[in-house]
C-alpha cells in the first residue's frame, strides 16, 4: 500500500502547486485558525509565567489588611468613610493572634529622592523590622534596620536595586547619605533586583524607611495597610482569627459589617483566571470559526477539483483504480492542503512568538502546536470526505466521456 500512498502524495502535491493562488486562498482559513490558537497559547503561557513570577513576590501566606477589597466594585466614598489603618494595630494583632507569625505596617507615598546632583521621584515605604518576612525579596547588600532603629526614629533607609543603579552605579552605597524630600537618610541596605510586577511596573525603584522616622516626617499623606504572615497550612484559620481580632480592635458589634478588608493573593488568581478564560475563549472562538470557514472552503475547492478531473478519475478507474483508491487520493489532497496550511500557520506563529518573547517572556507551547497540526488534518479529512466519496462513486464510463 506504500506505492499508493506515495502516488497519492505526489498527486496531491502536484495538484496543490498547480493551482497556487487557489490553494493559498483556500488554505487561508486554516492558516488563520492554526495561527490564532497557537498565538493564544503563546500569550497565555507568557501571562502564566509572568503571573506566577509576580505572585511569588507576594506570597500565598501573606494577608493584606486595608480599607478596601482588591478588585471589588466598592464606591470610593464608601472606602473613604471607613476608618484608616493605624500602626497601633500591629502590637494589638501580635498580642491577640496566635496565627500571626509576622505583622508589619506598610505606609506608602510618593517622594523625591536625590543624591548629589541626581534626583528621582519614587515610592517610599514606612514599615517595621518584620517587613522582610512578609516579602519574598532579599537584601542583596548591607542589612535591614533593627527594632531599636525603628523605635528611635533613626533616619536610615534600604533602597531598591533600581535606585542604587541610578544613584551609585558601581559605587558602594552603604553608609552614603541620600535625601528623601530634602531630609538626609543613611543607606544601610540594598534590595535584590525584582523586575516588573505582572510585567507592568518596576518595583526596583523604592526606598524602605523605619516606621518611626516615616511617621514623624511623612505620615500626613499617603495610605497604609498591614501585612500579616500566617502559617501556609492555616491560611483560612488565620483569616478568621485576624478578622475577629480586627473587629475587636475596631469595637464592632456583631451586627456591624466589617469596615476593613483582608486580602490575599487568591484575589489576584481569581482575577487572572477570569482574564485567562476570556483570552482562551476568544482564541478558541476565532479558531473554530476560521477552521469551519476554512473547512467549507476546502470542501468547495475539492468539489471543483473532482469536477475538473472527472475524466482523469475515469481513466484511473479504467486502468484499475478501485473506489477506495480514488477516495484516498482525494482525501489525501484535502489533508495535504490543510497540513501545509497548518504548517504555514505554525511557522508564522513561531516567528511571531519570537517577537512576542522580546516584549514579554513567553513560549509557543509544543503540545498545542502538535494539536493544531492534528486539528488541521482532521479538518482536511472532514471537509475532503464528501467530495472524495463523490469522486469514488463516479461511473467510469460516464467519466471517460466527460468533457
Amino acid at each position: 500500500m506504500f506505492s499508493l500512498f506515495f502516488e497519492n502524495l505526489k498527486i496531491s502535491l502536484s495538484a496543490v502547486f498547480a493551482n497556487k493562488m487557489r490553494s493559498i486562498l483556500t488554505a487561508l482559513g486554516i492558516v488563520i485558525g492554526v495561527l490564532s490558537v497557537t498565538l493564544m497559547g503563546t500569550l497565555i503561557s507568557g501571562l502564566d509565567r509572568s503571573f506566577e513570577n509576580s505572585m511569588s513576590w507576594l506570597g500565598k501566606d501573606i494577608l493584606y489588611i486595608s480599607r478596601y477589597e482588591w478588585f471589588s466594585d466598592m464606591e470610593w466614598w464608601e472606602i473613604k468613610n471607613r476608618p484608616r489603618m493605624r500602626t497601633e494595630y500591629v502590637d494589638k494583632i501580635r498580642q491577640r493572634s496566635k496565627y500571626a507569625l509576622a505583622v508589619s505596617p506598610v505606609m506608602q507615598r510618593g517622594a523625591s529622592l536625590s543624591y548629589k546632583d541626581k534626583e528621582t521621584r519614587t515610592e517610599i515605604f514606612g514599615t517595621n523590622e518584620e517587613y522582610m518576612e512578609t516579602i519574598s525579596t532579599d537584601i542583596q547588600q548591607g542589612r535591614f534596620f533593627t527594632t531599636s532603629e525603628d523605635k528611635s526614629g533613626a533616619r536610615v533607609t534600604i533602597i531598591g536595586h533600581g535606585i542604587k543603579e541610578v544613584f551609585f552605579g558601581k559605587e558602594n552605597p552603604i553608609g552614603k547619605y541620600i535625601k528623601i524630600d530634602n531630609l538626609k537618610f543613611r543607606v544601610i541596605g540594598v534590595l535584590e533586583k525584582q523586575g516588573k510586577f505582572l510585567g507592568l511596573f518596576s518595583v526596583d525603584k523604592q526606598a524602605i524607611l523605619p516606621s518611626g522616622a516615616y511617621k514623624r516626617i511623612f505620615s500626613k499623606r499617603g495610605w497604609m495597610r498591614l501585612s500579616v504572615k500566617v502559617p501556609e497550612d492555616k491560611i483560612n484559620e488565620g483569616i478568621d482569627e485576624i478578622s475577629g481580632v480586627m473587629r475587636q480592635i475596631r469595637g464592632l458589634r456583631p451586627s456591624d459589617k466589617n469596615n476593613f478588608a483582608i486580602n490575599q493573593t487568591k484575589a489576584f488568581e481569581a482575577q487572572y483566571n477570569t482574564l485567562k478564560v476570556a483570552i482562551g475563549g476568544t482564541g478558541i472562538f476565532i479558531t473554530l470559526l476560521s477552521l469551519i470557514v476554512g473547512g467549507i472552503g476546502i470542501m468547495n475547492i475539492m468539489f471543483v477539483s473532482v469536477k475538473e478531473r472527472t475524466r482523469e478519475i475515469g481513466v484511473r478507474k479504467a486502468i484499475g483504480a478501485t473506489r477506495g483508491m480514488i477516495l484516498s487520493q482525494f482525501l489525501m489532497e484535502a489533508v495535504t492542503i490543510c497540513l501545509i496550511a497548518g504548517l504555514v500557520g505554525l511557522l508564522i506563529a513561531y516567528v511571531s512568538s519570537i517577537f512576542i518573547n522580546k516584549i514579554f517572556p513567553s513560549t509557543l507551547p509544543l503540545g498545542l502546536s502538535i494539536s493544531a497540526i492534528v486539528m488541521s488534518m482532521v479538518v482536511g479529512v472532514l471537509s475532503g470526505f464528501i467530495p472524495a466519496y463523490q469522486a469514488s462513486k463516479l461511473d467510469p464510463i460516464d467519466s471517460l466521456r466527460y468533457e
Binding site: L4, V315, A318, I319, R323, M325
Partner: protein, 227 residues
C-alpha cells in the same frame, strides 16, 4: 477454454420511460491471440459492447466469463482488479494524465497493482522502449506528438501484461501516417501472441483484424473470421 465468453448478454437502459436495448442478446466467444474488430454505426451498441468486454460495465442479464472468471456477478472492486490485471485500454483521445511524464503515465497501472517502485520503473521503461519511446520517457504529453501520445497509451495498456488489449477508435484523433504507425504496432503485438480487440467504424482499419463482427441495434449481424 475461451478467453472471453459472452452468453446471451442484455444491456437494457430506461431512457425517459422508454426501454432501450443497447445489447439485445449477444453471444460471442473470443479466443486467445485473436485480432478482432467490432464495427457498427453509432447507436448500434458498439460502445456498450466495448465497455462490457472491458469490464467497465455489467450486463442487465446474461453470463460473461473472462478466462473462467464470472464477470457478470462481480462487484466494483473486483471489476477494478480484473481491469487492472487483464485488460489494457487504448482510447481515441489517449487519456493520458497531462501533468505526469510518459514514464509516470505508464507506471500508474502498476501503482494500482501495488508493485514496488524499482520494479515499476523497470517495467514501465521496458514498455515504453517496446513502442519506440525509450528516448521520450521524461516528456510530458504536451511535449509529444499525437502518435507518440498514443504510443505512450499503448505502453500503459501493455505494461501489466494484460490478456487483451481493447482499443476504441485508436487512430480516430491521428493523421493517417501516425495512424498507420499505431496499426503497425497492433499488428506486431498480435504477431507476438497478444489478443487485440479494436472498435472502429472504418473498414480500412478493420481490415487489419483477422475477424470482424458487426453490430446493429444491439445484435451481432455479421461475424467474419479469417479474412
Amino acid at each position: 477454454m475461451a478467453l472471453i465468453d459472452l452468453n446471451s448478454i442484455y444491456k437494457i437502459y430506461n431512457v425517459g420511460g422508454e426501454e432501450v436495448r443497447a445489447l439485445d442478446g449477444v453471444d460471442l466467444i473470443i479466443n486467445d491471440n485473436e485480432y478482432l474488430a467490432i464495427m457498427g454505426p453509432s447507436g448500434s451498441g458498439k460502445s456498450t459492447m466495448m465497455n462490457m468486454i472491458g469490464c467497465l460495465d455489467t450486463p442487465t442479464s446474461g453470463v460473461y466469463e473472462f478466462e473462467g472468471e464470472k464477470v457478470h456477478i462481480m462487484d466494483d472492486g473486483q471489476l477494478a482488479s480484473i481491469r487492472n490485471r487483464k485488460i489494457g485500454f487504448v482510447f481515441q483521445t489517449f487519456n493520458l494524465l497531462p501533468k505526469a511524464t510518459a514514464l509516470h503515465n505508464v507506471e500508474i497501472p502498476l501503482v494500482y497493482a501495488n508493485i514496488r517502485k524499482e520494479k515499476r520503473i523497470k517495467m514501465a521503461s521496458g514498455a515504453l522502449k517496446n513502442v519506440g519511446l525509450g528516448d521520450r520517457m521524461h516528456h510530458k504529453p504536451n511535449e509529444l506528438s499525437g502518435g507518440q501520445r498514443q504510443r505512450v497509451a499503448i505502453a500503459r495498456a501493455l505494461v501489466n501484461n494484460p490478456s487483451i488489449i481493447l482499443a476504441d477508435e485508436p487512430t480516430g484523433n491521428l493523421d493517417s501516417k501516425s495512424g498507420h504507425e499505431i496499426l503497425a504496432i497492433f499488428d506486431d503485438l498480435h504477431a507476438q501472441g497478444n489478443t487485440i480487440i479494436l472498435v472502429t467504424h472504418e473498414d480500412t482499419i478493420a481490415k487489419h483484424a483477422k475477424r470482424t463482427i458487426r453490430l446493429f441495434d444491439g445484435k451481432i449481424t455479421e461475424d467474419i473470421k479469417d479474412k
